[in-house]
């Protein structure tokens, strides 16, 4: 182990030598992805009741900061991760698209909750049926609202995707599959259309 002395107060810095401690090699892209994965600057685009769950996520009980996704930036130009939290109306869609376009590459989009993922139970004139109709989505987290655990799962999934350099959409599996659940629901009184 070498030793390096600087002047002035006489501080000493220990210098590790490669021959004694070994070294690691990696590819540049992997190193870059590793760095990106733990420095997600986020832009919260929060529109509806999922915001409550997002606040729980960001606050100390669930503590998103553990995963390097701490600092919110309220300018899309300074952020990497767009959180779309809540229902997006047709009227808001151009604003969302514009914000996405303003973000610098590489940029990731997180669909938080059922409404952002597919429009949820809003099936009408006013609501956009999922933000992926406007911007590409990296991770979908269904739930109304999703549990913070599910969101953390989604965040880890996103970090995993970033580390692998994978941009295909991914989903946090719900504990119960709603398509199976729907079949079990009591059928609502359907009005006969045939005379």
């Amino acid at each position: 182990m070498g030793e390096m002395t600087t002047g002035g107060a006489g501080t000493t810095i220990q210098v590790l030598e490669g021959s004694e401690t070994g070294f690691a090699t990696t590819r540049f892209n992997d190193l870059l992805n590793w760095a990106r994965k733990y420095s997600l600057f986020q832009y919260p685009f929060i529109t509806a009741c999922c915001a409550m769950e997002f606040m729980a996520m960001a606050s100390p009980r669930f503590d998103m900061a553990r995963f390097g996704a701490e600092a919110p930036r309220f300018s899309p130009r300074q952020s990497d991760l767009l959180w779309v939290v809540g229902t997006i109306s047709q009227r808001q869609a151009p604003a969302l698209k514009r914000i996405y376009e303003q973000m610098a590459d590489p940029k990731y989009v997180f669909a938080f909750g059922t409404c952002a993922s597919c429009g949820g139970f809003y099936d009408n004139y006013t609501t956009l049926a999922g933000i992926d109709k406007v911007v590409p989505v990296d991770v979908y987290v269904p739930g109304c609202p999703p549990r913070p655990e599910a969101v953390i799962d989604g965040l880890l999934l996103l970090q995993d995707k970033i580390a692998r350099g994978d941009r295909t959409p991914a989903i946090v599996k719900p504990r119960r599959d709603p398509t199976v659940q729907a079949g079990n629901l009591v059928r609502l009184g359907k009005k006969s259309t045939a005379t």
Partner: protein, 193 residues
């Protein structure tokens, strides 16, 4: 409660009050739409009625159930006398011609945005409104979404939508929750969009 207000209205306007009822303590008068603003002004200024608080204004579409098709509903309250009244006026035919009524903004300023919303959602034209524009929907929107002949799931996107063919389960091809559609009244496939 305010049955007395109904009596005053009937004695003052006579045949212009088409019908009244007081179900569950809600006093309602169906009035002549031609006299809408005149009756509103009377209700505000008359010392027996003194309806100084505008509560709500909306409309109902009774397409295929009643002919004048739209019913404009106005809720009023008197803070001085502690009573309320509901006024209704029926307008418009089945093809939505003549869906117009006098604005009550000159009587209560608070009616301004309510009438804009009513115009936005039902296409009721308020004559004498100072600024009758859409308030919730965007200006490019065509039609009136809460009319019964507007297809329930018809959307009018402002931006070009991406095609997302292979959406991951549990999201199906049919976005949203299709089992919610079972209660829709019109047969699938015949809507006009």
């Amino acid at each position: 409660m305010s049955k007395r207000v109904l009596e005053i209205l009937k004695s003052k306007f006579g045949a212009d009050i088409y019908e009244t009822h007081s179900q569950f303590g809600d006093d309602t008068a169906v009035v002549n739409p031609e006299k809408w603003r005149e009756i509103a002004r009377f209700l505000r200024d008359d010392s027996q009625c003194a309806m100084n608080m505008f509560v709500d204004l909306t409309a109902v579409d009774y397409l295929g159930r009643q002919t004048p098709r739209f019913e404009v509903v106005l809720h009023l309250r008197s803070l001085e006398r502690g009573h309320r009244i509901r006024l209704k006026a029926r307008i418009g035919d089945d093809d939505a011609n003549g869906v117009e009524i006098d604005s009550v903004v000159p009587v209560w300023k608070g009616a301004n945005w309510f009438e804009r919303e009513c115009f936005d959602m039902f296409g009721v034209n308020f004559k004498g409104h100072p600024d009758l524009r859409r308030i919730l929907m965007y200006p490019e929107f065509v039609g009136y979404p809460l009319r019964k002949d507007y297809p329930a799931d018809k959307t009018q996107p402002l931006v070009e939508l991406r095609n997302v063919p292979d959406k991951l389960p549990p999201f199906g091809i049919d976005e949203g929750m299709p089992f919610g559609r079972q209660t829709h009244d019109y047969p699938r496939g015949e809507e006009t969009n």
